[in-house]
């Protein structure tokens, strides 16, 4: 038998060299359809609940303004919206970069099947990330649009930018997590630990609901190591012009990009080592 779909002389792996990651992304997006309902309901429902509950409910009890832009204090809902949006992207990351990776390597061994095709381990990892990006984009766009509808954005045009800030935060948390998951050979409840002892404290102590400066100094480090805080602060600067010194904005960007680049390099290395032992 021969490979008959290709013109004579063409390298049989040529299309895969260019598009391997996209084939994987295509597969992952189709697989997500199985839980598409959760994605849509979660993607629309959680912003509705949080924006209504915090913005309309909790905010009515808050007398002191927690934040202000160049034109004076802003509503509480405007303050929390960027944080909630980034949190939503990070939640997607905690779902997609944990169990999906474990399933691929261990539970269903799907990655080993892909490994036998011309698709390289880095393309496999890349395809998974692309598919998660698509899901994150859906989630963050839904968040931004609903935030706009609730009047939770400082400037309406920021609806176009905030989703990408959310994705920065999501990947800055998600890629190192994906590298961690790719190194696990057994599920001993590590993901539940990540959820309870990393995600939840980060969510509570990253200046999400009140400025980081409100916390006692010895808790500030949580914010500084938290991609959620860095992305949220960027989002606040963009949304309503939170006054942040230039050097600190640079730190936010450097930390986020550093985590993304470092995380991706670690992911590639782990995928390759594991699949090509």
């Amino acid at each position: 038998m021969s490979t008959t779909t290709l013109p004579d002389g063409a390298a049989p792996e040529a299309p895969v060299r260019r598009l391997g990651a996209w084939y994987v992304a295509e597969y992952r997006l189709r697989a997500m359809k199985a839980y598409g309902w959760t994605i849509v309901v979660g993607g629309l429902g959680s912003p509705l609940l949080y924006l209504l509950g915090l913005g309309m409910g909790l905010a009515t009890f808050i007398d002191t303004p927690v934040a202000s832009g160049p034109h004076g204090p802003v509503d509480y809902v405007v303050f929390v919206a960027p944080a909630l949006l980034v949190t939503a992207a990070i939640s997607v990351a905690t779902e997609e970069f944990t169990y999906v990776i474990m399933e691929g390597f261990r539970w269903r061994k799907l990655f080993w099947g892909v490994n036998a095709t011309p698709v390289e381990p880095s393309q496999l990892a890349g395809g998974i990330v692309i598919a998660v990006l698509v899901r994150m984009l859906f989630t963050t766009v839904a968040y931004a649009v609903l935030a706009l509808a609730f009047g939770a954005l400082g400037h309406p045009w920021t609806v176009l930018v905030l989703p990408f800030v959310g994705i920065l935060g999501g990947l800055a948390f998600g890629l190192p997590l994906m590298a961690y998951s790719a190194g696990l050979t057994e599920d001993k409840g590590q993901f539940a630990i990540v959820q309870r002892f990393i995600f939840t404290p980060m969510f509570l102590f990253s200046g999400t609901f009140y400025p980081l400066s409100t916390l006692p100094g010895w808790l500030h480090w949580i914010g500084w190591v938290s991609p959620l805080w860095h992305a949220t602060q960027l989002g606040r600067v963009i949304s309503y012009g939170e006054s942040e010194p230039g050097w600190l904005i640079a730190v936010h960007v450097v930390v986020l990009v550093g985590l993304i680049v470092g995380g991706w390099l670690a992911v590639r290395r782990r995928f390759t080592r594991r699949l090509r032992a």
């Binding site: 038998m1 021969s2 490979t3 008959t4 779909t5 390298a11 049989p12 792996e13 040529a14 299309p15 895969v16 060299r17 598009l19 391997g20 084939y23 994987v24 295509e26 597969y27 189709r30 697989a31 199985a34 269903r108 061994k109 799907l110 080993w112 099947g113 892909v114 490994n115 036998a116 095709t117 011309p118 698709v119 390289e120 699949l275 090509r276 032992a277």
Partner: protein
């Protein structure tokens, strides 16, 4: 199709494959027979261009896997030891999805899926979720999946381990058809009957080394007698009985549960046993098999 010279794989201090030489010719069905842990799967992974060798030379389809992994894998079909089908997808969905990883257009994948489901005798279950299929069906689907890129070489790692006898025979029949169509097969197995069924030529592997090479018939001729008398005297009496039988037959093997007497005529052996006043609790005469070859070469049974 495949040429290995001094092929070696080390994991730290452990030598999994210890300098093996073999060649596979186009259209041939070639087997690696050996117990679990002999280095068969590691060899398959090196040939499959997913594991770099630690030493020696290897060419697959005329290419070095170190330099041309994707090009080699584009032309291989791989049936792994453990099924890694996507249980959430249908049988058809698995074939189409897998074809995409080879860059095959979706419409072509769909058409091939229909043909391959037919070949795997799964047309009626085409739209069933894989999780609902039996072990034998999953195995056939995995083979169908490995054919979706019309490979020049099909590699099967322990294709029937864990299947019931009927499912094994159906599977062998499918593989036999592929052989007839001229597909080159490389099979690993620790079942001698499977090696006899599927392989025209094989190497016997143990501890990462090749112990012998040839067709099943040649190997049996070279390393065993035509027939074997299997005698059971009871666990604690086998050794004593064997001492009395020292002169009988060409060769003796004393196993914990039985004594094997190798000879060209098994029935004659039974008569000699009786003439020496021994009364085995059970006795049986059979043709020599690759199991006997393995026992002779390594002093151990294939399945322990």
């Amino acid at each position: 199709m495949v040429a290995a010279r001094g092929l070696t794989k080390r994991f730290g201090d452990f030598v999994a494959v210890d300098g093996i030489d073999f060649e596979v010719a186009p259209g041939e069905s070639f087997g690696l027979l050996g117990p679990n842990g002999a280095g068969k799967s590691t060899t398959m992974r090196m040939v499959g261009a997913v594991s770099a060798r630690s030493g020696g030379d290897l060419t697959v389809l005329g290419l070095d896997p170190d330099d041309h992994g994707p090009r080699i894998r584009a032309q291989l079909g791989v049936v792994p030891q453990e099924d890694n089908l996507d249980g959430e997808l249908t049988a058809r969905g698995n074939l189409v999805t897998y074809g995409r990883y080879f860059g095959i257009p979706r419409s072509v994948c769909a058409q091939r899926a229909t043909e391959l489901l037919e070949f795997a005798q799964l047309s009626e279950r085409a739209d069933a979720k894989v999780d609902e299929l039996s072990g034998g069906m999953k195995r056939r689907l995995t083979i169908a999946r490995a054919l979706v890129n019309e490979p020049r070489l099909l590699m099967l790692d322990e294709p029937t381990t864990g299947l019931d006898p009927q499912a094994r025979h159906i599977l062998w029949d499918r593989l036999f058809r592929l052989k007839e169509q001229g597909t080159t097969l490389v099979v690993t197995t620790h079942f001698m009957d499977e090696a006899e069924q599927l392989c025209e030529r094989l190497v016997v592997v143990d501890h990462g080394q090749i112990m012998a090479e040839g067709s099943p018939a040649e190997l049996i001729r070279r390393y065993s007698s035509r027939e074997v008398a299997e005698l059971r005297f009871g666990t604690d009496r086998n050794e004593a009985a064997a001492r009395v039988l020292a002169e009988v037959g060409d060769r003796l093997e004393i196993l914990p549960d039985r004594v094997l007497v190798y000879a060209s005529d098994g029935e004659a052996i039974l008569e000699q046993v009786a003439a020496r006043g021994l009364r085995p609790t059970t006795s049986l005469v059979r043709r020599s098999s690759l199991e006997d070859v393995f026992l002779r070469l390594t002093g151990r049974s294939l399945i322990e």
